[in-house]
């Protein structure tokens, strides 16, 4: 269905189900209970899940399929964000034109960068992309201040031209919307002790992510996707057969740049502001972490990785020592202090440490990421099926 094999369609259906029901799934604990802090079903975080999911899906099209490790992908996200905010400032606060412009501008920038950087491969490619991203960051921070707003960044203002929108009366705020539906409007449903929030912005972002995911499946299963896998497994042999691999890698680079731009545009659509720090190289490193953690070269892996990192960043990082003491209050005093002292460095503000350790363990033992881990566990339970029958094998 939809031009997909049965397995892929099942995967897509699962993703659609999970994203649309996310407000329920991510809020498993009733309000006010001790576990409520593990609820991730609030709009801001859910939006981040899907936006970084899109970013990671795009990065995976480049890294997972061709093996080119870009350390400068955040530049495209940033460029897309700037394009989107200018669209909202000058033309209309409707998010669709903003997203379209973000994709186009990020794609054009990726074409330029890719044309230059793809002359080299391996570590040189990583360094070149890193150099371009750092240059974009430095320029956005300093020289390009008239366009980028420098350190303060850009926000929507009352007196922006917005030629297609009616002028705002004083006291009104310009809000990102989709044909009048405000991005930040939510419907709250209270069932028993549970409170579920359905946010317009989240659902728009979720639908965009589902489309992006569908596109990624099509790319993975297309002849073009096979060409990209060939680049990863043996580029030299591919060149010997008379194929020029550069157009394929460049196309992959531009596509993944466009995904990044789309993610950047969506970010602006959600919070209507942008600053240069989202182009810094640590942001590029973060999407690398997401993709590898989830499973590079698999379809669902990057989305899982993005979700996991954002969950840790927003939920695990909030656990402080008082909360820990509450959890272990049932233990004898000395033991309680000891357990808290052991756990404390790894959570709360130390969540980066946990992330680094998990990431290292994944790189060392599970090159296929969490998806491979899941497949191995699944393999233990049904020994009859062979591994290669599972739906998403990582590209070689």
């Amino acid at each position: 269905m939809l031009g997909l094999a049965k397995k892929d369609f099942t995967l897509l259906a699962v993703v659609v189900g999970l994203t649309l029901l996310a407000p329920f799934i991510l809020n498993p604990f009733p309000e006010g209970s001790g576990m409520a802090q593990f609820n991730a079903g609030y709009p801001d975080l859910m939006q981040r899940f899907v936006i970084f999911g899109i970013f990671a899906i795009g990065f995976n099209i480049l890294f997972g399929l061709t093996g080119y490790l870009s350390f400068g992908h955040a530049a495209f996200l940033g460029v897309g964000s700037y394009a989107a905010i200018w669209m909202m400032k000058l033309v209309t606060t409707n998010v669709i034109p903003a997203m379209i412009l973000a994709i186009i501008v990020a794609g054009a920038f990726a074409l330029l960068v890719g044309f230059i950087t793809l002359r080299r491969s391996g570590i040189y490619f990583s360094i070149l992309t890193l150099a371009f991203a750092q240059m974009s960051y430095a320029l956005a921070y300093s020289v390009l201040t008239p366009i980028t707003g420098g350190e303060t960044g850009l926000q929507l203002k009352l007196n922006d031209p917005r030629i297609l929108d009616s002028a705002l009366v004083g006291g009104d705020q310009a809000r990102a919307n989709l044909f009048g539906v405000n991005m930040s409007s939510s419907y709250e449903m209270s069932v028993g002790g549970w409170l579920f929030t359905f946010n317009a912005g989240y659902y728009i972002a979720a639908i965009v992510m589902i489309l992006a995911f569908y596109m990624a499946i099509r790319i993975f299963r297309s002849p073009f996707g096979l060409m990209l896998r060939a680049v990863k497994s043996n580029q030299q042999r591919m060149n010997f057969t008379g194929l020029n691999s550069r157009p394929y890698t460049l196309a992959a680079f531009v596509i993944s740049g466009m995904y990044a731009g789309l993610a950047g545009g969506l970010m602006v659509a959600m919070d209507t502001q942008v600053g240069p720090e989202r182009m810094f190289w640590t942001a590029s490193g973060e999407v690398v972490l997401m993709t590898i953690l989830g499973g590079a070269g698999t379809l669902i892996g990057p989305v899982l990785g993005a979700g996991m990192i954002k969950y840790m960043e927003n939920i695990i990082s909030k656990i402080n020592s008082t909360i820990l003491h509450q959890w272990f209050a049932w233990m004898p005093d000395g033991l309680e202090d000891f357990v808290v002292a052991v756990i404390y460095p790894f959570i709360g503000k130390g969540w980066h440490l946990t992330l680094g350790i998990i990431f290292m363990l994944v790189v060392i033992f599970l090159p296929g990421g969490l998806v491979e881990g899941g497949q191995r566990i699944a393999g233990l339970f049904r020994r009859k099926k062979t591994a290669d029958e599972t739906s998403t094998t990582p590209a070689e």
């Binding site: 093996g67 490790l69 230059i116 002359r119 080299r120 491969s121 391996g122 570590i123 040189y124 990583s126 360094i127 070149l128 890193l130 150099a131 371009f132 750092q134 240059m135 430095a138 320029l139 921070y141 300093s142 020289v143 390009l144 190289w281 640590t282 490193g285 690398v288 590898i292 460095p345 130390g350 980066h352 440490l353 992330l355 680094g356 350790i357 990431f359 290292m360 790189v363 060392i364 090159p367």
Partner: protein, 343 residues
């Protein structure tokens, strides 16, 4: 003329740091063929060795002063460092003052051990895996190391002053025959440059004039043949990894007074050092040193007011710009050997 000399001098201290880190990176890449993204973390650990030693020396106990009173007329509580009791007040103060240079001795065994453990415990298992995996696992290690440091030392920069003798600046221009007060230069930066020159010289001399160095150079050229001659080249390469870690660590120790150590200083330097390494040519030791100083000096020239008037923002991007141009026009970098990572 004096402006040019000043910019060259300004570029030297950063260039020295780039050159030292890039030298260590190249030693690791040239011997073991491993791309080490955790090298910046080693630089940072070196800087924190200086912090640690200065804390150990400053280790104090609280006592009640017999002479001084606080503003209420009560006896004042004062901190007395243990070194005062052990070595006397004068010698103790000297020790406290010279904590950073003393940290050189303190850091060498630590850095050698860190390097040895890193190579045996982790990097060893990554020789046969692709470069991308090596980058990723060392990137993860860098995150872990920097978070561990953050946990123990906090997120704020820790000021670590240089000895009193080297504090402040002096009129370097007058010594070279320029007009007075045109070239004012901090003492410690000159010390840093001299120190870097000594370390670089020592590493090259070690490789060039000792039997151990000869074997290592032979191993860099053709590992398999050296192995067939019955030499345990792996063991020597592990020691070289320790030495490379020590070089990065020493660069960090001496850099502590210039820039107060914080937990992410390593990452900041790492990105630039990698650019330096690829500009110099992967696997070329003289190339790494040359490119380090070259880019450091270029960076300081680009931040001259006269240049910034014409090309604003150039100081922020000059290094990357040079790297892009060199990588596209000279695939091997400035002094890279033929056949080493040329693709």
């Amino acid at each position: 003329m004096d402006a040019i000399v000043l910019q060259i001098l300004n570029g030297l201290d950063k260039g020295s740091a780039y050159a030292l880190i890039a030298l260590g990176l190249t030693l690791i890449f040239g011997t073991l063929g491993v791309v080490n993204f955790a090298h910046g973390a080693l630089f940072m650990i070196g800087a924190f060795c200086a912090v640690t030693l200065s804390r150990i020396i400053n280790w104090s106990y609280t006592t009640i002063s017999e002479t001084e009173k606080n503003f209420l007329g009560e006896p004042l509580e004062v901190q007395v460092p243990y070194v005062h009791d052990w070595f006397g007040v004068a010698a103790g103060n000297t020790l406290i003052d010279w904590a950073v240079p003393l940290a050189i001795l303190f850091s060498i065994p630590i850095m050698l051990a860190v390097g040895y453990i890193m190579e045996r415990g982790l990097i060893k298992h990554f020789y046969s895996r692709p470069h991308a995996d090596q980058i990723l696992v060392t990137f993860g290690l860098a995150i872990v190391l920097q978070e561990v440091i953050k946990y123990f030392y906090g997120a704020n920069p820790i000021p670590t002053p240089a000895p009193e003798v080297f504090a402040g600046s002096f009129d370097f221009g007058a010594m070279l025959g320029f007009d007075p007060n045109t070239i004012i230069y901090p003492y410690w930066r000159l010390v840093y440059f001299a120190f870097a020159a000594v370390i670089i010289g020592a590493v090259f001399a070690f490789l060039q004039f000792t039997t151990f160095g000869m074997v290592v150079r032979a191993g860099m050229a053709d590992r398999e043949t050296v192995g067939l001659l019955g030499i345990n080249i792996d063991k020597r390469f592990t020691i070289m990894f320790g030495i490379a870690a020590a070089v990065a660590g020493l660069a960090g120790v001496m850099y502590a007074p210039i820039n107060s150590p914080n937990y992410h200083m390593g990452m900041d330097f790492l990105v630039l050092s990698f650019v330096v390494v690829v500009v110099g040519g992967m696997g070329s030791l003289p190339g790494a040193v040359l490119a380090g100083f070259l880019l450091g000096i270029l960076e300081s020239f680009a931040s001259m007011a006269a240049v910034l008037d014409v090309l604003p923002g150039l100081n922020q991007i000059i290094i990357y710009l040079v790297a892009i141009i060199i990588l596209l026009t000279r695939p091997r970098g400035l002094m890279g050997r033929k056949g080493v990572m040329e693709d």
